[in-house]
Amino acid sequence: MSAQTVDQVFVLTKAWLMGHVPAAFQPIASAVLSVVPVLLVFPLLFAITTVLERKGLGRMQNRYGPNRVGPYGFLQPMADGIKSLTKEDIIPRSADAVVHFLAPLLLVLASFLAYAVLPIGRNMVITDLNSGVLFFFAIGSMIELAVFMAGWSSRSKYSLLGAMRAVAQMISYEIPLVLSAIVVIMAAGTLSTVAIVNMQAVYTHWLPHWFVFTPWGFCGFILFMIAATAESNRSPFDLPEGESEIIAGYYIEYSGFKFALFFLGEYLGMFATSGLAITLFLGGWSSPFSFLTWIPSYIWFFGKLLAFIAAFIWVRGTFPRLRMDQLMGLAWKFMLPMTLLNVFDVGIWHLMPHGILRWIVCTAFLILPAYLLSRTLNRKQKLQVRTYRYAD
């Protein structure tokens, strides 16, 4: 079994299976065979992530995580799944039943659709769209609509407030998210995810051409990850769903399986944006060193995804939650200017001749404004008398 065969084992299996399907059913069978593994693998990853997160957070907080169900607690997601399936599904009497039902469905649908353009291995992408990255962001914007539907249909003040805050947060962070992905598109000259990964999978000496190893790529990567954390309402940006602030925010009136679907949607969104970050900045399925290319490509992709999950858990266990105005200030006053400067930076990089000078110029172009902008954020706010505009 050569390394090539192991790497392409899923592609070859699918080709073999397709050989047995009659010609009339080829398109639908091809679609089903591509989609079903994604539908199986990522929810399984979600289940593992929930238990890893609880155990990881526990260890960081000097305690064990769950350790009763199964060996070292790793069957805990089964217990959670059974619990959420057997709970009574309560719909508040004044709630809008149709929208209340459709909101988690739309959320999970949008989250799953985003995986269609992520290349999980060499030749392993569900569909190679010409404008793959644009598709990803378009689908991501549907998630905000689902959040709003969830909060509004519950007809409860807490859930409405949570939904408004969540939508405001997601909209404000969508701009830095897209702008920090644009630098990669500018450098690569294409919107297709497969082409971007292929462009990064070449090696000079033993280092790869990943975009994260350039000044603008590194800055774009950090900004993308901060925006991705905020987009999926994940600590430290989880004010809309923080349990001690607003109880559960926009999904406060959901119980049982729909609650689990919201969780699933949020984590799937987290994996999808991490997957996009891996694709755009970290070279997708390519290995970091040229002497390690014998390890299959999908192993590299999932290894990087697990590293991202570990980083998310680490960040969750470390930082306190940001207040709403601090969150918005960060998005509009720091990240937006930085992403715009990053776009200029990649232009300078592209136009300057190769050499050490362009590294120095581009790095300085980013570090200096970052320092100056962060000083504006650190300035003490002048406290004013609180006025209530709509209350008089």
Partner: protein, 145 residues
Amino acid sequence: MGLRNLIHCVLALTLGFVGLAMLYLELGAQFVGFTQILVYVGAVAILSVFAIMMTRSAGPNAEPALSASWISGLVVAGATFAVLAWAIISSNITTAASDQPEVSVKAIGNALMHNYAVPLEIMGLLLTAALIGAVIVAMPQEKAQ
């Protein structure tokens, strides 16, 4: 629209936007289709629901969903449809869609920067004006003593 609840109306409008995007995709215009979803569903629909939520009346409308003169509305809509359909059917459109070159994003970008640079800048000015106007409308006014 025949729905009682305003928010249901907006969601149905969103469904209409998505349908339009599907039409674009069917015709092979990937960039426009996905931008339609990104802009209309992701921004305009959310703007509409926020606007309705901020300014809505106390509860669901007490009036019936269909106004009294719905028959004349139906007649006008039918007449418009008939005129448009006659215009399209009787015109001379050749079905040469297959040999159209696929418009890539690069071509759109080039066109925007070279041929349509002035409209692009004017749109930018328009959006800036809209942004400033929104900030002014939302800013707290100084209380005149």
